[in-house]
């Protein structure tokens, strides 16, 4: 194993621990938004997609490149949009008791 891969592996392991630490504090109520948010975060492969697809030469590769960037962008933009929509709905109990007069 190269020194570089080992260094990256180290970063990976540490990040896993940070992830467990941070995510175990998320209450069950927010598990769906959490999943959706982490889903959007792994859309970071778009960075890799851009690095790779941006330098494709052959026409076939370029078509694959477009598909690749579409997939990754779908992941990023769809993921954050959906998470935002979910989170908009979570609100605390409002003290105002049903203001419907009449009965």
């Amino acid at each position: 194993m190269s020194a570089q891969l080992l260094a990256e592996l180290t970063v990976f392991i540490l990040a896993v621990f940070v992830g467990i630490e941070v995510i175990s504090k998320v209450p069950t109520t927010l598990h769906t938004p959490l999943m959706s948010a982490t889903n959007a975060i792994h859309g970071i492969v778009l960075v890799g997609a851009i690095l790779v697809a941006g330098t494709f030469d052959a026409p076939f590769n370029q078509i694959v490149g477009v598909i690749l960037v579409i997939l990754a962008s779908l992941n990023v933009f769809g993921g954050f949009t959906v998470t935002e929509r979910m989170l908009q709905m979570f609100r605390p109990r409002t003290p105002q008791p049903q203001k419907k007069d009449g009965d």
């Binding site: 194993m1 891969l5 769906t32 999943m35 959007a40 792994h42 490149g65 959906v82």
Partner: protein, 466 residues
């Protein structure tokens, strides 16, 4: 010797990693969660702007890709109904996994064309890791999507020798990947490995039933996370490594939690084909023979309107019928009459972790009214009416008592301890697990048959008329 100065882009990536971690940190409270999501989105934006400065030659490839992907993503993300969230998340997850695999494939092509034929172990190994996990996640997520969208049956699909076939495909993946790593006829074996991984992704989701979907959706999420991290190894990019690790940890944690909530190990979920023994031969009709008591919406209204405490137990059936708004209306009516209304949420109710919470949040149910299984179970004894709306297996007392039941040992909501139980159901068909529910035979139980939304609406008008 002067030190090598850091690439400015790496500062941006560092900022991104910090923003992702902080974003997830703020997700720990409903009050700050939106801010957290925006921090994460900001982090993503920074990384994207940074990467666009990195020697891109084919701008049109990137431009078209981002515009089309963003347009579809934002449009579908806005248009999708809250009830369809699990399949949407599965689809985006698959897109991420597929992208990771393609990045690795592209990198391999580039290296093969540029090099002298023999690629270093580090590169081939990480490329294979990314490709295989990414492809499994892609194909598995598409299958999960098809099942959740009910394009294909949500029931487990099993056939004789299934494990053998799966084991053979897995072996094929391992062998062909090893050949690529050893630089034997790289591209040919790479294609074999990639195709085999895709097939494996399809096959391993086939026997998963609807009730196990929360586990599988979490697991696939974790796969894509690991694939993204592996992409980071391929491209020597730390922000990918860190983000992927965070997602991998999150997905794994949720998978374990879901597994615990069903008292089943991950291997059991993957290879157990939940309840398939009973579902294979028309067991669906056997439930009709049960001795059940059926009631009208008016009966239900009278019961709940004069109760002290009502616990609502929502399940996937509520999602299917889109009954969450009607349920909320019923709760409002009851609370106006001084009835205490609580919601009991089983960890695996629905098709993804926290599915019910999101649906009820959509209907403006305050999150403080939602109770976890452990908090609500002692309450059932003191409850006049437990209103079960489209939930089945998570209320099945056989999980406590019947050692032969496939769900024996699964922690359940102790609905049967309430003074009265009302079960809303479309018909007497067993749930996704295909197991008869003795709860329905209980003398305390009354069944209200029909579409959950229509039933609840009728109950609401009956309560108003009282």
């Amino acid at each position: 010797m002067a030190q090598i100065a850091a690439n400015p882009v790496d500062y941006a990536y560092l900022a991104t990693a910090i923003l992702f971690i902080l974003g997830l940190r703020y997700l720990s409270s409903p009050k700050t969660a939106r801010f957290g999501n925006r921090l994460a989105a900001l982090g993503m934006l920074i990384a994207l702007v940074a990467v666009l400065t990195q020697g891109i030659v084919q701008w049109w490839v990137i431009g078209i890709g981002i515009v089309v992907g963003a347009a579809i993503g934002i449009y579908s993300g806005r248009a999708v109904k809250m009830t369809a969230m699990p399949q949407m998340v599965a689809l985006f997850n698959g897109a991420g996994g597929g992208a990771a695999a393609l990045v690795a494939a592209g990198e391999l092509l580039k290296l093969t064309n540029a090099g002298d034929g023999v690629l270093p172990f580090d590169q081939t190994f990480t490329i294979m890791l990314t490709s295989v996990i990414g492809a499994i996640s892609f194909a598995g997520s598409i299958m999960a999507f098809l099942k959740l969208q009910e394009v294909m049956t949500g029931r487990p699909i099993v056939y004789p020798g299934q494990q053998v076939v799966n084991a053979f495909i897995l072996l094929l993946v391992v062998v062909s990947s090893t050949l690529v790593i050893m630089n034997v006829n790289g591209l040919t074996w790479y294609t074999v490995a990639l195709l085999a991984a895709l097939v494996l992704g399809v096959l391993f989701v086939l026997p998963i039933g609807g009730a196990d979907m929360p586990v599988i959706v979490s697991l696939l999420n974790s796969f894509t996370g690991v694939a993204a991290a592996a992409t980071g190894f391929v491209l020597a990019n730390n922000v990918l490594v860190i983000s992927g690790a965070l997602v991998g940890a999150s997905g794994t944690l949720l998978t374990v939690m879901m597994g615990k909530a069903m008292n089943r190990s991950i291997t059991n979920v993957l290879f157990g084909a939940f309840g398939s023994i009973k579902t294979t031969t028309g067991a669906a009709g056997s439930g009709a023979a049960q001795n059940v008591r059926s009631v009208t919406p008016t009966d239900v209204a009278a019961l709940v309107a004069y109760a002290n405490q009502v616990i609502i137990v929502p399940g996937y059936g509520m999602a299917v019928a889109q009954a969450q708004h009607s349920v909320r209306e019923l709760a409002d009516q009851l609370e106006k009459r001084g009835v205490e209304v609580k919601y009991a949420i089983h960890p695996v109710a629905g098709r993804m972790p926290g599915h019910m919470n999101v649906l009820l949040a959509e209907a403006n149910v305050p999150y403080e009214a939602l109770y976890d299984m452990d908090d609500i179970n002692p309450e059932f004894e003191r409850t006049d009416v437990a209103l079960v709306i489209g939930a089945n297996d998570v209320t099945n007392p056989a999980a406590r008592s019947d050692k032969n039941s496939p769900i024996y040992g699964m922690p359940i909501l102790d609905v049967d301890k309430a003074a009265n139980i009302i079960v809303l159901k479309r018909s007497m068909k067993p749930g996704f697990a295909g197991i008869d529910n003795p709860l329905y035979d209980n003398p305390k139980t009354a069944m209200l048959f029909g579409d959950a939304k229509k039933s609840i609406d009728s109950v609401v008008s009956a309560v108003k008329a009282l």
